[in-house]
């Protein structure tokens, strides 16, 4: 979230799209009801299904699954063509006036630079035009034909209300009603918030869906505002923390990135990440990249990391490609990956195309599962009748299960969607032999290190030199790990303003990442978490909920990264002169000598408004990007591409380019995509509120509340197929089938799309062949093995099925 849960209450318009907050985030959803009750907010839900969120919405808007970019592109077109922008904001805080390089083009569904064979783009034209001073050129009148605003207008002029209605199936008048409502927040004293979740991320164009929402918010001047922003509601209780600590295979903690295989030179590695400012006077915060990186390496390798060995840069793996989970299972399937550690993860249930996964796991030499539960993955080799029909005799994979604790059985911090690190305490001792994950991993590490010490082996250095100074080496305490990611001074740190004075003595905990140095005198395990455990103690355990502004910015409650900042880009809540756009939403302001207020300013604290520094300090140009330059795989402007399995078989905008041209598709998976003539119905998978992923089918109360697998279909489709509520039905995709009870509902209605009637089939995911709820089929038997072009998050939300009475 750019903002945070409590801040939702400040919104005037709330749009839940690409998510179902009431269903999946019922606790955080209270802030939506707060906004409605106390801020008279209007609440809109845009979804293929009339969800539990829609049940309490002022307006429910149907759309076909996977068409969110078309919808939001239409909103952009509406805002631009009716001139419903926050003009001053757009001009000063976005790259709308920036001039794009000549050569940039968009024709027939493809941007300039496409390489069809490699399914990638040469992005060199997706850039600003540089002026003679080396900086990006801009036209403050925003009339230049190649300025971002004009290109934006041109790009989205195709997204007329009729086109939107034709692609999305949303009735035209309903779409316009949403547009009008959204447009009301273009004034400085009204804000809109977008709440989304995996309903956006889990598409082959998921990242671009989110970006489109961000662009809408930039045009409306809602980013950085209380009650505004683009807000990802995270799924697992600590998936935010996991992402922050380097969840993805190409990331290091704190969103630092691993070098690619061609990046063997340390200086070039740093140079490519510490971007040069694209406009004069910009903060361009990533210029500090090396401080974060060196401190991370000092944290990992201690004295072994020196300036002379480039802080052990050579020890870092160099990526030839991204090793996301789809890639890993593809390699496993090809027999190129033979051992797999599966920690707090149930891929057999959670990853698409169960048949492929089972085949892949069966080719492993060994599989290690670290989990509190008896997961399907750890039992993939067991025969469970029709639910897991495998022959154990033919599977040679050795499976090792290590029971771990669950979150309530250990101390630690959970990072919520609002980036708050909240410390929690153990509620109960773990059962049996279950051990904390850290202890299990420590045990494996110590054993390995011992083997390397005794037996040598190839490249032992990173293992032997890894810092491991925990009080109990085989059981690192959560408190020790927390202090480690906060970071500490490795030498006395001199005050930059008065070198005679030390701000910190050697060994002291850092106050924040502002103290990080690139000279090896600081260590920090995750720079964005720095400040979480200072000399004052555990900041994550703070529980002061005083709220002086009334906006819900409780700076004394826990710790929010970065720097205890609650609302990102909050400098943008003020006009260029430093005065809040809306006096009732005073987050920060310029008091004549410094930035101050009710939040930690996301800005250089002493940079006067007259200096002209932009509010988006992480960007080299200091402004928000309507044009994404080369940051996205499939283009600088989001474009509507159909899901890989599309019910209409074409893309009404450009029939030659139907799906995301930059999405990675493994060769063998292409043939596993279904066509609408065999699988005519648009399916979407989702969670229901009674359950949490594949965990709570192991708990009695959740299993009582929703005991048995079901699928949801509309009354029209049910009638067509002769299916009655409560019948057992078989749902089939190109990749397999499941059987479940049919829930026949008015809440899923057929949509008119491109001259056809599209029915949706809703597929909740929570059942499997383990646990105490009634056994069911893993829903991901059905889903396709393709992911978002940027994140490789699988396309769980849009695929094709057929359905019949079982």
């Amino acid at each position: 979230m750019t903002n945070h849960w409590v801040d939702i209450k400040n919104a005037n318009v709330i749009i839940v799209m690409g998510g179902n907050a009431a269903e999946a985030h019922p606790c955080g959803f209270k802030w939506v009801t707060e906004a409605k009750a106390h801020n008279h907010a209007t609440f809109v839900v845009v979804d293929p299904r009339f969800t539990r969120s829609a049940a309490v919405a002022d307006l429910y808007v149907p759309l076909r699954t996977g068409t969110d970019i078309a919808f939001l592109g239409g909103v952009i077109n509406y805002l631009l063509s009716r001139d419903k922008l926050q003009h001053e904001y757009v001009k000063a805080y976005t790259n709308a006036p920036f001039i794009v390089k000549e050569g940039y083009e968009f024709n027939d569904g493809l941007f300039s630079g496409y390489d069809e064979a490699a399914r990638t783009y040469d992005k060199s034209t997706w850039a600003y035009e540089a002026g003679p001073d080396g900086y990006a050129r801009l036209d403050v009148t925003m009339q230049h034909p190649r300025c971002v605003l004009q290109l934006l207008k041109k790009h989205y002029s195709r997204y007329t209300p009729e086109a939107v209605s034709n692609i999305c199936g949303t009735p035209g008048d309903t779409f316009l009603k949403v547009c009008e409502l959204i447009a009301t927040t273009s004034v400085p004293d009204r804000t809109l918030t977008f709440l989304y979740a995996v309903g956006w991320t889990q598409h082959s164009v998921g990242s671009q869906m989110i970006r489109t929402a961000a662009m809408v918010q930039l045009l409306l001047g809602n980013v950085g505002m209380a009650g505004g922003g683009v807000n990802a509601l995270r799924g697992h209780s600590n998936i935010q923390g996991l992402t922050d600590l380097g969840l993805m295979s190409n990331l290091l903690p704190g969103y630092l990135t691993l070098p690619g295989e061609k990046e063997t030179d340390y200086r070039k590695y740093i140079g490519a990440r510490a971007f040069k400012p694209l406009r004069p006077g910009q903060m361009d915060y990533w210029q500090n990249y090396e401080k974060f990186h060196v401190s991370l390496m000092k944290s990992w390798f201690g004295n072994a990391a020196t300036k002379d060995n480039n802080w052990c840069f050579d020890w870092l793996p160099k990526l030839d490609k991204i090793y996301d989970v789809l890639q890993a299972f593809e390699l496993m399937h090809q027999g190129k990956l033979n051992g797999y550690f599966c920690q707090g993860f149930n891929p057999l249930a959670s990853i698409p195309n169960k048949a492929k996964l089972t085949a892949a796991l069966s080719r492993l030499k060994y599989l290690v599962v670290i989990d509190p539960l008896d997961t399907e993955t750890s039992c993939f080799w067991e025969n469970h009748g029709k639910y897991n029909d495998v022959d154990p005799a033919r599977i040679q994979t050795e499976v090792i299960r290590m029971p771990s604790t669950c979150f309530a059985e250990e101390n630690g911090s959970l990072t919520n969607s609002g980036r708050w690190l909240q410390w929690h305490y153990r509620g109960a001792p773990p059962p049996g032999d279950a051990k904390p994950d850290a202890e299990i991993i420590a045990g494996i590490f110590l054993k390995l290190r011992d083997m390397y010490r005794k037996e040598g082996g190839a490249f032992p250095d990173p293992i032997l030199s890894l810092t491991w100074d925990y009080d109990i080496p085989h059981s690192p305490a959560p408190e020790e790990l927390a202090k480690e990611y906060n970071g500490k001074a490795l030498a006395d740190l001199a005050d930059p303003k008065d070198p005679a004075k030390a701000v910190l003595r050697k060994g002291q905990q850092l106050d924040g990442f502002i103290q990080l140095r690139a000279d090896g005198s600081t260590s920090c395990g995750c720079w964005i978490f720095s400040g979480a455990w200072t000399e004052k103690g555990n900041m994550m355990a703070r529980r002061d909920n005083s709220d002086p502004s009334g906006l819900g910015n409780t700076l004394g409650w826990a710790f929010a990264w970065p720097a205890n900042r609650r609302i990102l880009y909050n400098r943008a809540s003020c006009d260029p002169s430093g005065k809040p756009w809306d006096p009732n939403r005073r987050l920060v302001y310029w008091d004549g000598s410094k930035w101050t207020g009710f939040d930690v300013p996301d800005f250089k604290p002493d940079s006067a408004p007259s200096e002209g520094m932009g509010p988006f300090i992480m960007q080299p140009e200091g402004v928000g990007r309507l044009f994404a330059l080369d940051k996205m795989a499939e283009g600088p402007f989001p474009e509507h591409y159909e899901p890989f399995e599309t019910p209409i078989g074409t893309n009404p905008l450009h029939p030659k380019v139907i799906n995301n041209p930059a999405a990675r598709v493994f060769r063998d998976d292409m043939k596993d995509f279904g066509k609408s003539r065999d699988f005519p119905y648009a399916a979407t998978s989702y969670r229901v509120t009674e359950h949490f992923h594949f965990w709570t089918k192991h708990t009695r109360i959740s299993s009582i509340l929703q005991p048995e697998q079901y699928v949801e279909i509309g009354e029209d489709l049910a009638k067509e197929k002769g299916i009655k509520a409560g019948d057992r039905v078989k749902v089939r995709s190109k990749r397999g089938f499941i059987e479940a009870v049919a829930v026949v509902t008015k809440r899923i209605r057929p949509l008119q799309v491109n001259g056809e009637t599209v029915h949706h089939v809703g597929i909740p995911i929570h059942w499997g062949f383990k646990g105490i709820a009634r056994n069911g089929y893993l829903a991901n038997t059905l889903t396709p093995f393709v992911g978002d072009a940027n994140t490789q998050t699988p396309e769980f939300k849009s695929f094709l099925v057929n359905i019949e009475k079982a």
Partner: protein, 293 residues
């Protein structure tokens, strides 16, 4: 189940006053249907707090589960897909005991002290006094009490009388994530509900209102409804519930009168005997049949 013993305003099958020296404030659980997202957290909290567990059931083609109130499930969510002037609405009502001011169950109950009403308005079953006749089920206008197959006692929502007695709110209200369930004094809750109704009216629900039916003397569980004119669309919430005339007839004044009538009959017979004497064989006939004696 109860922790209260000095603030009992009514007690089933009891004709003398109950301990009522202590007076507590009238409480209400207000369920704002317009805020309810149907997450079933209240169902979970109810099971957790009361330590009751139904069997793991099956899906019946709807999201409701368990499908009905049981001796273990004292509250269930009722989902109704309804077409109104606003288009499709998904009305989700938390069903459970309404804690009537004039409780039909208590009226019907023949077992002394099996059902009590506290001065705070909570109607509470005291299962140790329950004889399992099910008359409360017959008496309830909302179809709430459920007979346990395990112990032959009836169970229903206690409004967490054990929690309320020590100053806590009911478990469902405590857990409700959206604030759709709130708990407080009746005055406060009506005030709160009026604010909610005003908000709903401003959003186009012209018939929004409070459900506090007078036919049962008002209730201590109240609803805020978007369509208060049509409670029936909320999964059959009765429009104008009252204790059935049959129950009033059955449990009203007729029975004591009938009891007196029977007693009067016995007395009448006795006095008939002493005034008119026995009906004996006449002397003439006795003479005729002298030989018999």
């Amino acid at each position: 189940m109860a922790l209260q013993s000095l603030d009992i305003t009514r007690r089933s099958a009891t004709t003398t006053p109950s301990p009522s020296q202590r007076k507590t404030q009238e409480v209400v659980k207000l369920i704002d249907v317009s805020k309810c997202i149907g997450c079933k957290a209240c169902q979970a909290a109810c099971m957790e707090w009361n330590d009751t567990r139904d069997k793991i059931g099956t899906n019946h083609g709807v999201l409701d589960n368990p499908m009905d109130l049981t001796a273990n499930s004292w509250t269930v969510m009722r989902y109704s897909e309804v077409e109104t002037g606003r288009g499709l609405e998904w009305l989700i009502r938390k069903d459970g005991c309404m804690h009537c001011a004039d409780p039909g169950c208590l009226k019907a109950c023949p077992a002394p002290g099996a059902i009590v009403q506290y001065s705070n308005g909570i109607v509470d079953f005291q299962e140790e006094n329950c004889i399992g006749c099910g008359y409360c089920i017959t008496g309830c206008p909302f179809n709430i009490p459920r007979l346990s197959g395990k112990d032959g006692k009836v169970y229903k929502c206690t409004l967490c009388s054990d929690r309320v007695a020590v100053g806590l709110e009911p478990a469902c209200a405590k857990t409700c994530p959206t604030g759709a369930i709130v708990f407080g004094t009746k005055d406060d809750m009506i005030h709160h509900a009026e604010g909610r109704v005003a908000d709903l009216k401003s959003r186009g629900f012209a018939e929004a209102g409070i459900y506090d039916p007078l036919g049962v003397g008002g209730t201590h569980v109240m609803y805020v409804l978007q369509h208060a004119d049509k409670p029936g669309i909320y999964h059959g919430l009765p429009k104008d519930p009252s204790v059935s005339a049959m129950v009033t007839l059955w449990k009203g004044a007729v029975k004591p009168i009938a009891s007196f009538a029977l007693a009067a009959g016995v007395f009448g017979a006795f006095f008939h005997y002493v005034t008119k004497g026995p009906n004996e064989v006449s002397e003439e006939i006795e003479k005729e049949f002298k030989d018999e004696k």
